[in-house]
Amino acid sequence: MTERDQTRTAVADPEDDRNGAETENEGEEFEDDGIIDHTTFDQLLEMDDEEDHEFSKSLVWNYFEQAEKTFGDMNEAMKKLDFPDLSRLGHFLKGSSAALGLTKVKESCEKLQHYGNRKDATGANTITDSEAEELIRALLIQMREEYDEAESYLRDFYEGQETQEA
């Protein structure tokens, strides 16, 4: 079992899988359904040299590594119900997700940041520890799916770029 599968398994609770009915078929083409903010991502691509996309691609691949590690850290923090750490991790991943234009992941990270601080999704109102736990548990599943969506989109994008450059 890969580390990625372990990450999914550690977080996913079949009794809590509220998104099962909405899971996309893996064979479907991923449309840009709000996954990427193109204003931000295109700015990133503009920083590439004219001949290739090596800079942005290396950055995106570094982000994949960072995200996998952060999801692992989130799982560990969730096992200990370490809310402050969960908030910190949410904020950390929010920054790089935002920098790459990964809209949904960024918004979920912001919610995690709030929930970890025992605040609701807006950050305005206080919630209890048990409310925070329930919300975070569901959110981690959702965030993982959103990340997987974004990762697939980006991998397909760069694969297409390499095909064109070849």
Binding site: Q43, N62, Y63, R88, H91, F92, E110
Partner: protein
Amino acid sequence: MSSASSINSISPPSPPPSPTMSMASINSDISEQPRKIKVMIIDDNAINLTILSRLLNKHFADTIQLTSVMDSGVSALDQLSKDQVDLILMDIDMPVLSGVQTTTAIRSSDNHDILVQNKNVPIIAVTTSDAAEQRELYRQVGMADCVSKPIALPKLRMAIESAMKTIPALSTG
């Protein structure tokens, strides 16, 4: 290209400098060209640091020299005790020392470790924490401006240009 056309395309050498040009006038010409402003960037997230570095090197190469890339407020304070900078672009939410705490330490008259030239260096917050009350806090602790993440190049340019107006006239050396 044929050898005949290549001979015809050779230009005569430039005349030597006029003996009336003195070293003083040559040095004066050089000194009138403003030096690049020295910039430090601070962020605990390596991806953000890479993006900001690339943005600065690609779009501000004529005016900015990126001299310090720091991954924490602690390391930034240490560097500011050694090297003079003209501008700081700083993340806010960092472990150990936040951007607000780092700025407070830089501005503090009790902190004798920071080079005196760095005490009033313009500091621009670069952050996702950009609500109105947070911007007001950054202003209160002495930050010059706040640029939201993800960084929009025009807004970064505007913030840098505005901050540069507060930098004393640059000179060589």
